[in-house]
């Protein structure tokens, strides 16, 4: 459910000056806004927020949301209230790779809790925490529609199903060696079944 957003833009509009999205992102946002009838470009807000999050270290600060509001000619509150409603928008900083482990029935039945414990011990973090090197955040989420491949986790655009300890080890190793941020909007995803 909704999280409280701290800080308001009115206090320090100048912080926004530092925010700039890449040309590619701006082009994507412009194209997204054109997909709706005249005057209905607010419809693009959810997809635009995904682009904004990928451009902003994986989370939406009030300043970033203000910037989105400006880009889309919306009131800031319209952006805040949407960002705080949906679970995929992070309103606090997160690690480069957010490991989102499904905890709902079918996954739970097939060992989701062992997965959460194992990752937690391996990275020495608890649910909701980020590893000190800023690489991983451990998060639990509700059903991701992969019950047939339970237990599973999502990281960025990637789905990893039928998890075992060995599989988790190699996944974490791969992410460490790649060392880059995983976003939902990534085009080069590698799912594992």
């Amino acid at each position: 459910m909704a999280e409280v957003i701290q800080g308001t833009r009115a206090f320090n509009p100048s912080t926004r000056a530092g925010i700039k999205f890449s040309d590619e992102a701006l082009k994507t946002i412009e194209a997204l806004m054109k997909r709706y009838p005249e005057g209905k470009h607010k419809s693009a807000l959810l997809p635009v927020l995904h682009v904004a999050q990928a451009e902003s270290d994986g989370w939406l600060s009030p300043e970033v949301m203000d910037y989105v509001a400006e880009l889309m000619k919306l009131q800031s509150i319209e952006v805040y209230e949407v960002a705080s409603f949906y679970s995929m928008y992070n309103l606090k900083p997160v690690g480069k790779c957010v490991l989102e482990v499904c905890r709902t029935s079918s996954c739970w039945t097939r060992g989701a809790e062992d997965v959460i414990d194992y990752i937690g011990k391996k990275l020495n973090i608890r649910e909701g925490e980020t590893s000190p090197d800023g690489m991983f955040t451990l998060k639990t989420v509700e059903c991701l529609g992969a019950c047939g491949g339970a237990p599973m986790l999502q990281c960025g655009a990637e789905y990893h199903e039928n998890l075992t300890e060995a599989k988790i080890d190699s996944l974490i190793e791969r992410y460490r060696s790649e060392g880059r941020r995983k976003s939902y909007t990534d085009l080069d995803y590698q799912n594992t079944k």
Partner: protein, 453 residues
């Protein structure tokens, strides 16, 4: 082997791409509909097919389509519901990932039938990579003249877009979905007005599930009568079932409606029986929102008849001894699974996903979650069990959207059929101390003695 209509070419190399899809008869329904049929004739075939909504409610699709208001000069919209978030359901993802073009084809044929010139596929944000697959398929369809202006020279125009959500189960509810598609929070709207009259941007709108739209393809190709020959009674055609839990072969299966539940669970063609040689304890046949059934009511109805995979047979016995086909999210639990813990798991889900608009749902789901958690940890008492029943009753029917009911039913059903297991948690807190792996000793449901006159 049952007949397949949607996953016929599932195994074909390259079926994800346009060339293979087209070579295997793809886009024939668009040719047939646009060139040889009027929109009303397409609607007529869908009516004849008896197709019922595959998103969960099972409402007849042809009837829904004929309710669409058609005021002059106002655009109409078709919106595909690809939000798929009901725990236990993953069939739409499978279909969109494996055969994306069948959804695109169904969207074109259906949009034509409804007179829509702009259509949207609203897909849950977590399925971002599936949205990419659909976007590629849409680009291929444009490139080959199936989308855009003057399709096949018929003068019909259609633009199709994929919209990703932000992560919220409630956006699967059709009016919440429309709110979300308008760039707002996913708060369900009060009905009426129904989307058929005032939907997206206040215009007449049809919202249909992915599988429903895909089923329009074989219906138009082969005719509604042919489709209606498959199945039993008012359960016509084929259905995708997402099978998961403690079974040997989890996965998505296309079944002819009418397959016996016993065959579905135990035959090698489908689930392949219970994993690790265990016994089945319970089954949730239609996604987390439908009542759970104890083992003795899964394969047989209370009257002792074979239970079939149809809308009617699964709900035989109503809420006393039946359940529902729902979205086809079929979850099986083995003898070691803990029903109290599973019910708590579902409650936590609904509490997390409540949009918070109605007090009975917002407060009630949280209350049930807390009480269930207490019971599950062995810290509850006997009166908590009746308290749960009471809270569930107070939510049911008192909310804007059916999420409230969906949260209440599983709790009520679990207590109805597994009360002794709830009591066990109160009486033997020591034995459930490490509940992570379910029960060490199986606790099986107790079949009530038949009442004799």
């Amino acid at each position: 082997m049952g007949r397949k209509l949607l996953l016929t070419h599932d195994h074909v190399e390259g079926i994800q791409g346009y060339t293979a899809y087209r070579a295997n008869g793809g886009y024939r329904s668009v040719e047939k509909a646009l060139k040889k049929m009027t929109p009303d004739e397409v609607v007529e075939e869908v009516k004849k097919s008896g197709l019922r909504g595959r998103g969960g409610a099972g409402f007849p699709t042809g009837m829904k389509w004929s309710f669409l208001a058609k005021p002059d000069g106002v655009p109409r919209y078709l919106v595909c519901n690809a939000d798929e978030s009901e725990p236990g359901t993953f069939k739409d993802r499978y279909l969109m990932e494996r055969i994306p073009h069948i959804l695109i084809e169904g969207m074109i044929t259906s949009s034509y039938a409804l007179g829509a010139n702009t259509s949207y596929i609203y897909i849950r944000g977590e399925y971002f990579y599936v949205a990419r697959i659909l976007e590629n398929a849409i680009a291929e369809a444009y490139a080959n003249g199936w989308l855009g202006k003057n399709i096949l020279g018929t003068g019909y125009n259609l633009d199709l877009y994929v919209q990703v959500g932000g992560g919220a189960y409630i956006c699967g509810e059709e009016t919440a979905l429309l709110e979300s598609l308008e760039g707002k929070r996913g708060n369900p709207r009060i009905k009426p007005p129904f989307p058929a009259v005032a939907g997206l941007y206040g215009c007449p709108t049809v919202v249909n599930n992915v599988e429903t739209i895909a089923a329009v393809v074989p219906i138009v190709n082969d005719g509604g009568d042919e489709y209606a020959k498959i199945g039993i009674g008012r359960s016509t055609g084929t259905k995708l079932i997402s099978a998961s839990g403690n079974i040997n072969k989890p996965g998505v299966y296309e079944i002819e409606l009418g397959v016996p539940v016993e065959e579905f669970i135990f035959s090698d063609e489908y689930c392949g029986g219970i994993a690790n040689g265990k016994r089945m304890k319970a089954c949730v046949p239609g996604g987390s929102s439908v009542p759970i059934l104890p083992d003795y009511l899964v394969c047989k109805t209370a009257a002792g008849e074979d239970r079939l995979m149809t809308y009617e047979s699964l709900s035989d016995g109503g809420f006393v001894s039946g359940s529902m086909l729902g979205s086809g999210g079929f979850i099986v639990y083995d003898e070691h699974q803990c029903i109290v813990r599973n019910t708590w798991n579902f409650s936590r889900f609904y509490h997390h996903e409540s949009c918070g608009q109605c007090s009975p749902c917002r407060e009630g789901t949280g209350w049930m979650e807390r009480v269930l958690h207490r019971l599950e940890k062995g810290e509850g008492n006997m009166s908590d069990i009746d308290l749960l029943v009471d809270v569930a009753k107070k939510i049911e029917g008192n909310t804007i959207c059916p999420l409230g009911d969906a949260a209440a039913w599983p709790v009520a059903a679990a207590i109805r059929h597994f009360r002794h297991e709830f009591e066990y948690h109160v009486l033997h807190p020591d034995k459930i101390k490490d509940p992570k792996h379910g029960h060490r000793e199986p606790i099986m449901p107790v079949k009530p003695e038949p009442v004799t006159a």
